[in-house]
């Protein structure tokens, strides 16, 4: 019997047809939809007079454009409002389940999938959003697609695809105190680069990955795309099962027993061959901070802004110089002395309850530095917000001087009103530090929730453990 990787198994289980032309037809179990990448797909379906293949596989939610200010029940920006209304209309026209803006379950699409039990091990999950890789944390094959493919899935429940190669990244050993899932994934991206995973499906394994909570695993898989791979995944285990059990969309009763039994097979066989394998010692990972305009431009907290003149590759050197100019940084500056203007805690990378707890531990009993103009905490969903409030986390944040907001993508990509002004510098728990990502001219440093909270208190980067 041939030995298979987890990815091989997920692929094989969803293979509808291998075409002689070299492509495969892959079946999609779950289709998540948001307002930004779907209107043209719904329109295409409508214009071609085609039907949804299986509406019950689909769940929609507005997240990118929604305002997060607590007092705004309506969307002021007419262009954003039209996009959200278009999702409403399309969902009611085609009969798609939607957690609309006034639904208490509304939130970031990649937060609500797992939260509702919509995301299950062994599934194929797609969404017109590159951070769909998040759901791989449950042992699912989950990846982002473009709008043409969104329409394809709506009409056929399938995708025309070619198989990726297998990569395994093992993080062995144990993390040091104060080092989090975000630091693990940022250090992986620093090591393999933003194109290191291109063409691969990545399985994360090893003692460190196993030790992470489901929230931490989602953070790691979420940023797989930042390493160039469309899909990241982790084998399901008891933690996965415990997380899912009892959630609204999770199977119940006898069906639950059958599902759990089947999930035990979702593991790479001993001796399965990976095209590429990377081993990292977890004990060597330090808290991470990005200094540039690509997630691979990342250093340990204790290090300084790197010097482009030390880089041999001329294209890379030029990229580093441009990044430093954009970021307004000088080579050799210690990261801990970089002053900050804003702090953003949120996004599909880090807005789950555990992320908020991690930040609240640091913020508790302290005050946001007067040098910080604004410190936002944006929970990932209405239910995360509710739970945080039941635990009193909102009081911790509000008392410290953070703004406690409503759920949404918010300042991760600044499609709503939450954005940086030119040259403003932000410690952000999001996933991309691209030029202009958080607002034109804005300067983003990607960090963990604990680091972001510590930076808010100190006004500059500092080891959360030192506070």
């Amino acid at each position: 019997m041939s030995r298979k990787t987890l990815y091989d198994k997920l692929w094989d289980q969803h293979l509808v047809h291998d075409d002689p032309n070299g492509t495969s037809l892959i079946y999609i179990d779950r289709h998540l939809v948001h307002e930004v990448t779907s209107p043209q797909a719904f329109e295409g379906l409508h214009l071609a007079g085609r039907k949804f293949w299986r509406t019950e596989s689909t769940v929609a939610v507005p997240d990118h454009n929604v305002p997060t200010t607590v007092d705004s029940a309506t969307v002021d920006d007419p262009v954003s409002r039209l996009q959200i209304q278009t999702l409403d209309q399309n969902c009611s026209h085609f009969g798609v389940t939607q957690f609309g803006m006034s639904d208490p379950r509304q939130g970031i699409v990649h937060i609500i999938g797992p939260e509702q039990g919509i995301t299950l091990p062994g599934m194929t999950i797609v969404c017109g959003d590159s951070h769909t890789s998040t759901h791989g944390a449950f042992g699912a094959l989950a990846f982002g697609i473009g709008t043409s493919e969104v329409e394809h899935v709506m009409a056929t429940q399938c995708l025309i695809s070619t198989k990726s190669r297998n990569m395994r990244i093992r993080v062995d050993g144990q993390l040091n105190h104060g080092v989090t899932a975000k630091d693990v994934v940022l250090s992986i991206i620093g090591k393999i680069g933003t194109a290191g995973g291109t063409g691969y499906a990545i399985e994360f394994a090893g003692a460190v990955i196993e030790s992470l909570s489901m929230e931490g695993r989602m953070t790691v898989c979420n940023m797989t795309i930042e390493a160039g791979a469309r899909a990241g995944m982790i084998r399901p285990d008891q933690k996965t099962i415990d997380y899912i059990e009892g959630r609204p969309y999770a199977p119940k009763g006898e069906m639950w027993e059958r599902a759990v039994a089947s999930w035990s097979e979702l593991v790479s066989d001993d001796g399965a061959v990976f095209d590429k394998e990377i081993v990292i010692n977890g004990a060597e990972i330090r808290p991470q901070i990005t200094w540039g305009t690509s997630p691979e431009m990342v250093v340990d907290l204790e290090k300084s802004v790197p010097d482009p003149s030390q880089e041999a590759d001329p294209t890379k050197q030029e990229g580093m110089q441009r990044a430093l100019e954009y970021m307004g940084l000088e080579p050799g500056t210690p990261m801990t002395s970089v002053p900050l203007d804003l702090v953003f805690i949120g996004s599909c990378t880090n807005s789950r309850i555990e992320d908020l707890r991690e930040a609240a531990i640091v913020a508790k009993g302290r005050k946001v530095s007067p040098d910080i103009k604004q410190a936002l905490v944006v929970p990932g969903s209405g239910l995360v917000k509710k739970q945080a409030e039941e635990e009193g986390l909102h009081r911790v944040f509000i008392d410290a001087g953070f703004e406690w907001r409503n759920p949404g993508c918010s300042m991760c990509l600044a499609m709503n009103a939450d954005r940086l002004q030119p040259k403003e510098r932000c410690a952000s728990t999001s996933n991309r530090n691209f030029e202009g990502r958080q607002g034109q001219g804005g300067r983003t440093h990607l960090v963990s929730p604990a680091m972001a909270a510590a930076a808010a208190i100190a006004g500059h980067f500092t080891d959360p453990a030192s506070l």
Binding site: V36, D77, G146, E149
Partner: protein, 213 residues
């Protein structure tokens, strides 16, 4: 799907690696519910000196003279020469829509991000991967010769540099080549396999019924 066969045009060099989809089309323009009209906002933050918003008259905005797209010698360019990992970042198909709307039909780079690469084919844009040495030499040749143009021949899988008629061969996946040549309708093709999809569903409904409830 838009067809691609043979295309001839001026080559515009974008000499930076890791050009992400946020740079190709910034987020504020993603609020549109249409597939067209993104061309004037392609590379908006590099191209203009001010901040752009949807529904704005772009003709009166101050241009960044330092950005390659604004240099007169590249006016009317329809082939983009780029660096490694072009199109990284988000899955937004607005990125190829913007490139197409501006007039780009072919993008050449040493490597592309997966989702962007795939999205190009869905929109009649041909992304070509060439060895870094060839890309390097093209960058320097463009520098030397204003109006540098190429003829991209998909059926023959080669590029002809019009200056000296030199030929560069390229590889492409057979299915993607056919899809571009014929302008295939992916959805129609898959729906032709509806019976296969139904029998797959039948089988899986027995094995994993909770995925169908």
């Amino acid at each position: 799907m838009k067809k691609f066969n043979i295309h001839e045009g001026i080559v515009l060099p974008l000499d930076r690696a890791n050009v992400d989809t946020d740079a190709i089309i910034p987020k504020q323009f993603l609020k549109s519910i249409k597939r067209t009209g993104f061309g004037p906002n392609l590379f908006d933050e590099w191209r203009y000196l001010d901040h752009g918003e949807p529904d704005q008259d772009n003709s009166s905005r101050p241009l960044n003279p330092g950005f390659v797209l604004n240099q007169p010698r590249y006016e009317g360019a329809s082939i983009l020469l780029a660096r490694d990992n072009f199109g990284c970042g988000s899955s937004r198909e607005h990125a190829p829509w913007a490139l197409l709307d501006y007039g780009f039909r072919c993008i050449i780079a040493p490597s592309f991000a997966d989702i962007f690469f795939n999205n190009c084919f869905k929109n009649g844009i041909l992304p070509i991967v060439l060895d870094i040495e060839i890309v390097d030499s093209l960058f320097s040749r463009i520098e030397e010769s204003p109006g540098f143009s190429m003829r991209v021949d998909l059926p023959e899988q080669n590029i002809i540099v019009l200056d000296d008629q030199s030929v560069i061969d390229f590889d492409i996946d057979g299915f993607q080549k056919d899809a571009l040549l014929q302008g295939l309708d992916d959805i129609g093709m898959t729906l032709a396999k509806a019976d296969l999809i139904r029998s797959y569903e039948e089988k899986r409904r027995n094995i994993t019924p909770w995925l169908f409830s």
